[in-house]
């Protein structure tokens, strides 16, 4: 990309300093919003831009803001900076290197939904980052960009950081709100959704870091400008976190709709010499495994096209798998992760991930029979769709898709490659 919209520190390193950020029209969108626009107008611009949530679900951001219950106050903004999906490392770079654009996004969101206290929930591991953000926030108070009666209006805003302490589940929005309230990070039954019943029982917008980092430039340059990037249904650019068996792993900001091939081979430098690409996980460890054939590689990475090859775009954490990797090893890794991170609230997930772990261990260590593969598939199918949040489903995606699409990996791992009983796999 010629110029970045989000990773602007790649074009100008100094943007992480407040004077530099302000010189480049930083915080002018916030000042204009507070002094000249009413909150609904800000929301309308974001709605018109077509911005969709970058945390994984792709929900239209402006619509979420419109859902805030106007008969129940105060309103809160809770920023999801829990970034814990294996393969995702974009929010960290954004907050570290372009912090003021992110904070201005938080401020614009807060103004749009009438919030006076915004919370940024960071995973506990982002300890140093949280302390840096605290310093930035203090500077914004000194420059009167945060605090009481901003720009001589009645509007006041404070931002607080809040550190988690190591729990993947807190990236789920209602578990994050529970954690922020000082409780175990366990998901709530929905509905009610956060815009009607959120933090401390009050209407709350939960947005991902990257989502909000888009907002200042959308306000400054307009919805039409923003729609000049990406596709009709997925406007804008996206930070793709590229990892795994690729020469140049890292974050790449590209228009939504860029193909897997361009990301992996042009930007990511392809694979190691002598290796070929076997599979792609486009949404981190929660992802189904896509068979990396030409059709898949030429698929556009956006919310509407990735499902055509049997996966979701999610948070766009592209894990590249080469031909040296066997899928029984891979799912043993992902299942261990989800077993560890299951919060224990819903039985299918708590027990199911435990049993999947036992079975994948057996398969990986060559101690299984073919019936075990069928049993694993059966346990996975029985977790799916039966839990309060998506973690249960996520735990099964790699399992069922790899048994379906890379069956030979399991057949070579299991001593008796023929089924002991003729159970038909319904995949």
């Amino acid at each position: 990309m010629a110029e970045h919209i989000l990773l602007r520190h790649r074009d100008n390193k100094e943007i992480s300093k407040l004077p530099t950020y302000r010189k480049g029209s930083g915080f002018s969108a916030f000042e204009r919003a507070v002094t000249k626009l009413n909150p609904e107008e800000v929301t309308d611009i974001v709605f018109d831009s077509g911005l969709r949530g970058r945390g994984g679900a792709g929900f239209p951001t402006g619509l979420k803001w419109r859902f805030m219950d106007k008969n129940n106050w105060p309103h809160y903004v809770a920023v999801n900076a829990d970034e814990s999906e294996p393969g995702t490392f974009k929010d960290r770079e954004l907050m570290e290197s372009n912090p003021y654009q992110f904070l201005e996004g938080v401020m614009l969101c807060a103004y749009a939904v009438g919030c006076n206290d915004a919370y940024i929930y960071l995973r506990g591991e982002f300890w140093d980052l949280a302390h840096e953000l605290d310093k930035h926030i203090t500077k914004l108070h000194k420059e009167k960009l945060l605090g009481d009666q901003l720009f001589g209006t009645e509007y006041s805003l404070r931002i607080h950081t809040h550190l988690g302490a190591g729990a993947y589940i807190c990236g789920e929005e209602t578990a994050m709100l529970e954690s922020l309230e000082g409780k175990l990070g366990q998901p709530r039954l929905r509905p009610p959704f956060p815009p009607s019943f959120g933090l401390f029982g009050k209407p709350t917008v939960v947005n991902n870091v990257e989502t909000l980092a888009n907002v200042p430039l959308i306000l400054e340059k307009g919805a039409k400008w923003y729609r000049g990037f990406g596709t009709e249904k997925s406007p804008g650019t996206k930070i793709f976190s590229l990892s795994g068996n690729v020469m140049k792993p890292g974050n790449y900001e590209l228009p939504l709709g860029t193909t897997f091939r361009e990301l992996i081979f042009e930007h990511g430098g392809g694979l190691r010499e002598g290796r070929s690409i076997k599979a792609i996980m486009p949404a981190g460890a929660s992802s189904s495994l896509i068979v990396a054939n030409d059709v898949a590689l030429d698929t556009q990475m956006d919310y509407e096209n990735v499902p055509n090859v049997g996966a979701m775009l999610g948070s766009a954490s592209i894990i590249v798998i080469d031909d040296s990797v066997s899928m029984d090893w891979l799912i043993n890794k992902t299942v261990h992760f989800f077993e560890h991170e299951s919060c224990g609230k819903c039985t299918p997930c708590r027990e199911g991930t435990y049993w999947m772990k036992n079975i994948t261990e057996r398969i990986h260590h060559g101690e299984a029979v073919w019936d075990d593969v069928l049993l694993l598939n059966d346990v996975a199918t029985n977790i799916k769709g039966k839990c309060l949040c998506a973690l249960g489903d996520f735990a099964t995606e790699a399992v069922t898709s790899s048994i379906e699409r890379f069956r030979e990996d399991f057949e070579t791992r299991v001593p008796q490659s023929r089924p002991k009983t003729e159970v038909k796999l319904s995949l």
Binding site: E83, S84, E85, P86, G87, T88, F89, D91, R92, R123, G124, E125, F126, W127, D128, H160, H162, L163, G164, A165, G166, A167, Y168, S179, L180, E181, G182, K183, L184, G185, F200, S241, L242, S243, G244, N245, P249, G250, N251, A285, S317, I319, I321, V325, L330, K333, T334, F337, H340, E341, C343
Partner: protein, 168 residues
């Protein structure tokens, strides 16, 4: 007698000011970090103190300590080296790195070196998948990332801590 209040009164007030007055419980996580600062774990006395400060039960506080992986209820090494060996890191050699480091230090994951300086742990994704092998170091008062590591660079870090300890 509330040790935490006596020791960190002003800081605790600042933490409480971030949350609505009726929602003091929200401060439990920041207060646990304060409690852990002295010796790297949360004692039962700390839990009682926090419970009193927030008007919740000690059981509530203990459940939070048990649920989240960055809180500890027993002492370990002065530094916890927490190596990510999740899928993306493992694809870039994290398992070999962890094995090499453990071999060198003569411990298994989860164990502490006899001199009490280091505990090595295998942990879940740390959002640094492009910089593997990597680990974070959790010490009493913070967490720091160490990226693009080799066994050699990690051992050098440990040697530095040991020297520090020896020179008191």
């Amino acid at each position: 007698m509330n040790h935490l209040r006596d020791q960190y009164g002003k800081e605790i007030e600042d933490v409480l000011a971030r949350y609505p007055e009726t929602q003091k419980r929200a401060a439990v996580m920041p207060l646990l970090y304060i409690a852990q600062r002295e010796d790297g774990y949360v004692s039962t006395q700390d839990m009682d103190d926090i419970a009193e400060l927030l008007a919740i039960s000690t059981t509530d506080v203990a459940s939070i300590v048990g649920f989240y992986t960055l809180y500890h209820d027993e002492q370990a090494g002065r530094y916890r080296i927490q190596v990510c060996n999740d899928l993306p890191c493992a694809l870039r050699g994290a398992d070999d790195f962890l094995d090499g480091l453990c071999d060198h230090l003569g411990v298994k994951p989860g164990e502490t070196t006899p001199d009490g300086v280091v505990t090595v742990e295998a942990v879940m994704c740390l959002a640094a998948c492009d910089k593997a092998p990597m680990f974070q170091v959790q010490s009493y008062d913070g967490i720091a990332y160490h990226e693009v590591q080799t066994v050699k660079s990690a051992v050098k870090l440990v040697d530095g801590w040991r020297k520090e300890k020896a020179s008191g």
